[in-house]
Subunit: 303 residues, 2 copies
């Protein structure tokens, strides 16, 4: 069933121990929608500048992604550049040029407003809330956030996530948001803020899921090659909600097994993302590859 | 089937964000043997000083641990003190007083030499090798090491582990030993050094197992309360080899399922260890508690 993805479409410059690319397609909305497109029809709501390449729009379209909500504005596309640490678990931001993204006011096309699934990439909490209000009939709604909003717009963020079914967040941000170091206690505190389904992403170490029916924990996939972790968390989000949307799972019907499977699909998509720079891996990735890795996760974790 | 454990019996002083104990029973041999004692008969080979308390020997004896190989020497028992970081993932050593441990020359009682299982706690590689040579008929042999020996006695260590069936090591040490950052490549390099069964411990993030039949990965247990991680890696080792010894699994017969179960039992024992200071948790822990947590791991990871 159809999914709306809202967030940034950007150009990134990335340096990792495995190499360097000065300018390539990136942005949370891009990664989420590419990953989700393997599971379900996706419409994106985002803004790009006059410099946005036809080739990049073409990649999204080639994955069947609906671009009606992709606004084009005068000016340049959002640009981010960063450099990763030796172990790629940390990164330093070298440049953040908001450009046309500074004035992004997501206005959903009429065709999007009645869709059942909504994934809000990491943007200003007030904008996330405004989108959510335009999709009052959606049946599974959630999003991502980051330390910048947790620290700088906490009240706004709390109002926003109060209306979500799920939140995806990394472990350091979960600790920051909850004020709890212990992951179980952090999860309980965050779930009390609204989102009954919580996924705490732990990078190379995997992910933990907390919901009314209990908890689920998955170790990280052991990669043969790690080239660039940029976008892995967003691809996780795309695999997570995409696989739920594919099977028509809603906030009301989601079972522990549905949610655990979604976490595995999220991890599968995040792991593929790291195998090449930027969105490179999605140029060749197939659904068969995804199913093979899902089964590999089963073998890797069964006892 | 009977297990011999060789290593340090010590007194520790530990400060963590959850509290502080100035002097308590510790040491790798202590933790390994206590954890393993829930699964199989254990004999220890270690040395203590004149200050070693009857109460502490009594705790080991109460778990059925054979103390014939526990030498008493003139002087004081090995003492270590350290303070943990806020997240308890790092620690700083404040004191290392080798005392009687400086002259420890493990000499196995005749009753130990024919036992089938041997776990070598983290001591000088040459001593580990000397013990291994006293147990030429053992059917499953392995041990632990640390950065101090990897950096300082590399050749000696390589000769030593070449004769082991399994090696337990943490992730930063696996990288140091192999020179590989990627965990799969690090594992392949280390397995080529001798131990066909390799467990890479990742602290709160779980553990990964590599063997001829493939790989297995387990996330960390989500603790309600973390008081003191001292000894968790050694308790992992005790649960790992103890559960294999209980079922008579040898280097020749070990199946992927046997080894995966052993990693889960290792993780169970490591997780209990962290719930109290020092060996405190083992004063009340029962085999039923262990089985319940094993099943909890199943529920936490099944999909």
């Amino acid at each position: 069933m159809s999914l709306v993805v809202v967030g940034s479409v950007a150009y990134d410059g990335v340096a990792t121990p495995a190499g360097r690319v000065d300018r390539m397609l990136g942005g949370a909305c891009t990664y989420i929608s590419l990953a989700a497109s393997y599971f379900t029809p996706v419409s994106i709501v985002a803004v790009v500048g006059e410099d946005f390449a036809q080739e990049d729009a073409g990649l999204l379209a080639s994955r069947g992604i609906d671009l009606e909500g992709l606004q084009r504005a005068p000016g340049k596309t959002f640009f981010w550049a960063g450099v990763y640490s030796e172990d790629m678990n940390d990164r330093e931001t070298l440049a953040t040029e908001l450009n046309v993204f500074a004035d992004f006011r997501p206005d959903l096309p009429a065709s999007c407003r009645s869709k059942p699934y909504l994934m809000l990439g990491n943007i200003q909490p007030a904008l996330q809330r405004a989108v959510r209000e335009q999709m009052s009939g959606a049946r599974l709604i959630g999003g991502d956030t980051m330390n910048f909003w947790i620290e700088g717009q906490r009240e706004e963020l709390l109002q926003t996530i109060a209306g979500w079914d799920f939140l995806l967040i990394n472990d350091s941000e979960a600790r920051l948001l909850s004020g709890e170091r212990n992951l179980k206690r952090a999860a309980a505190a965050i779930r009390a803020m609204g989102p009954r389904i919580l996924v705490i992403k732990r990078g190379e170490y995997g992910a933990a899921l907390f919901h009314d029916g209990g908890a689920f924990s998955l170790p990280g996939y052991l990669l043969d090659t790690l080239k660039d972790p940029t976008g892995a968390g967003d691809c996780f989000a795309g695999g997570f909600i995409g696989s739920l949307a594919e099977r028509g799972v809603t906030a009301e019907t989601a079972s522990p097994a549905d949610l655990a499977r979604a976490v595995v699909y999220g991890s599968v998509m995040g792991s593929f993302c790291c195998e090449d720079f930027g969105v490179g891996r999605f140029r060749t990735l197939t659904r068969d590859d995804i199913e093979r890795r899902f089964q590999e996760f089963r073998r890797l974790t069964a006892f």
